[in-house]
Subunit: 339 residues, 3 copies
Amino acid sequence: MKNFLDLADMPRDEIVDLLALADRLRERPEPAALQGRVLGLLFFNPSLRTRASMQVAMARLGGESFVITPGSGSWQLETRLGVAMTGSAAEHIREAIPVLDSYCDALGVRAFAEGRDLSDDLSERSFTNIASLCRRPLINLESAVNHPCQVLADWKTLDDLKVPRRSRFVLSWVNHPRALPLAVPAAAAHMAALRGMDVVVLRPPGFALPDAIMEKARRAAALSGGSVSETDDRDAALAGAHVVYAKEWGSPEHYGDAELEARARGGLGDWMVRDSWFQKTDPDCHLMHCLPVRRNVAIADDVLDGPRSRVLSQAHNRLVVQTAILYRLLGGAPAGRLH
Amino acid sequence: MKNFLDLADMPRDEIVDLLALADRLRERPEPAALQGRVLGLLFFNPSLRTRASMQVAMARLGGESFVITPGSGSWQLETRLGVAMTGSAAEHIREAIPVLDSYCDALGVRAFAEGRDLSDDLSERSFTNIASLCRRPLINLESAVNHPCQVLADWKTLDDLKVPRRSRFVLSWVNHPRALPLAVPAAAAHMAALRGMDVVVLRPPGFALPDAIMEKARRAAALSGGSVSETDDRDAALAGAHVVYAKEWGSPEHYGDAELEARARGGLGDWMVRDSWFQKTDPDCHLMHCLPVRRNVAIADDVLDGPRSRVLSQAHNRLVVQTAILYRLLGGAPAGRLH
Amino acid sequence: MKNFLDLADMPRDEIVDLLALADRLRERPEPAALQGRVLGLLFFNPSLRTRASMQVAMARLGGESFVITPGSGSWQLETRLGVAMTGSAAEHIREAIPVLDSYCDALGVRAFAEGRDLSDDLSERSFTNIASLCRRPLINLESAVNHPCQVLADWKTLDDLKVPRRSRFVLSWVNHPRALPLAVPAAAAHMAALRGMDVVVLRPPGFALPDAIMEKARRAAALSGGSVSETDDRDAALAGAHVVYAKEWGSPEHYGDAELEARARGGLGDWMVRDSWFQKTDPDCHLMHCLPVRRNVAIADDVLDGPRSRVLSQAHNRLVVQTAILYRLLGGAPAGRLH
């Protein structure tokens, strides 16, 4: 494993192996495995789970990490190519990324969608630029339309819960005060399809996921024997569901237009997961969400605090699976030296 | 010791033992005692000493730590229960705290008083909510009306200086441009009383500490043979003092009302510790302050730079006693594993 | 070596030895050399390379570090002496520095020029105050008119490139949207002169470096057999150059006056390093810059991305030389204990 950028880069078997490694390291920790290794973490956007769990994962393996947050204690970074840098960014990623890469044994980068041009974001233009500047292993800590660490943790959570491979995974749009990126819904649909599940994308009119995202999930389903469908009929979607994976995202139809987008989500306040959503699901239906979640906007208190909620297990599994990712990327290689 | 939340939770003997442990670890460091352990630090409010000394204490014991600051590189956190989260907070402590708790071996949290409702703050509503969400050891890094790490360091400083148990400890209000929390005065009065000292709370009219705080100190004094009194007569209070512990706090009478509060502190500019304050004290009287301190507002330069000042010893003892707290909370337990 | 504040504090032989140590530690790392040691890092100003490379250098040597950034998660710090602290700074360096110093084994501090009074900044008033408050080794991470870590890395880069001692080092002013500090040009001119090079300071009229800075470089040249000259004739300066060291700085003539300064730099947009600058240089002429650099303002894309650019080597050598600095300051001493 050279990088960890997208579950789609890995054969399904390799993912299953990685999850088994995560289990093994949970049962039999290797506290000196990454002694002397250093992970650099570059956060263009806020983080709680990702930052804490990556730092702890390194520490649990005997390694070290450092965090750089452009614009907060560090220079704002320009990502566009070819521009005259007369604005607020003092440094370009073309310098910053290779420099940080040269200091550490692996680099993790979070760079959310810019949210202006849908095709730019769907093409992962910015993250692809970043990746092209790295010589050491790179970990995607959430890019424009991907969040592989999150959905690997979600897969682990489904396994831990013994949710059968062939079961009904409803990825449901939920309410939020503003447009959020497509990274988690895109990655979750792909992951569940690749796991072999029957994925139903439930969303109100105007919030269909872009074709490229749906196609990628369908290709994964074809490989794994799962299926992918979409609907705006909530009752139909939820009937018999084994998992409701709630997620907020912005309308792809009005991408980058805050005003039209806000109008599109007007009147969608009832897209908040309530106990009543589970009336016709499988009786043991699980509620999942990647967090952070706005209580009583996206999901009601009683559901989050109730017995169906798996959000804390998902979050804890971030640590569990990232430990395996770091071990796979950095373990066994000769001890860190200055290059 | 399961948590470190309040000196009042511990029998006096246990505190004395903890201070002896701090001495032992200062003399004979144990640089591998907490190998593989991780301390999470969550700061809702600014910090210099607390953050640095907690990170160094873990490092000196062979462990690791990470820092999360909501609103700066991490999501703003909602603390109120039952609200619809339509505002600026993207995440609730009901998720954030258990998630961080699940990543580490112990959690330290700083959450200052909200400064709106006195009874809310006196009840430690917010910190109690946080504590109820933790399964691992929790350390109070300053809550609404407590700062046990600070006052344990202060106790250690008094011991290092050989200040007799039965001596005159004057907790004096001092000037500040705005209302500060009650945490340190409350905790310092309680600590000195529990140590067995004669505590005199000196404050201008309108700045009497709330009954609940005075009562808690009086109960501690009753246990330890000390005493607690209060006055606005500075000359009487300072006569014979062995320790002047200066501290800024807001008027409890005008709690949460910035305008009335500002009016109450108008004309109190002479409540700045000057050399003249020590004319009738014990000749060896010590000046203490928890820092940060505004020079020439709360305490004059010549006193802070003079021979009575113990502020640097107090600050250094933060590291000394917290090393013992971490050792007691985490030492001896089986090495950290993923849960 | 007690501190690392200025290359001028060290005999030239000691610098050469330090560079040899850096080479040795690059070839034969000592991953346990600083086990149990803690480096405190205090950043009054933004940083990417310095912060990351200092943290990684400690980690590579088995030690730990922590970062405090006043005004971001920590109190704003007052640096002026004798003032009544009624403003936004809650703490004074007279407390903060000794406290942090007492927690760690060495302290690194970045405190840029204030940019108001030239003679204040030239005298290093602020950093000298800070240094006087430290008992442990102090590392200058960029002060008003110095950046010794940067220029030691630059010296290493010149050695790695086998640039002969007696060669032509052109320190050229380049364009920037606003006045930047004199720290890097001052330190780079001094370093190159001390290395024994023929230093040519090339700058437009109005941007001559202050006499004190030029004098210091000339004294170093006199010791080492180099030379120092200055000119505003770009063609003459670049003819035969072996190194072009590009750097932005504010006009010393209009120090602290943003408006006059902006006027002085009007029309200097052609002071951007382009490929054409190398027409009459030595054919193997290197381009150096300390970073961060504004692309297509200070240096054109094609030069930064072309074969002459050494900026990434310089940045990587920050890690290489700082590892040696830390080893020299902290290695061999008895293991860290609480004081």
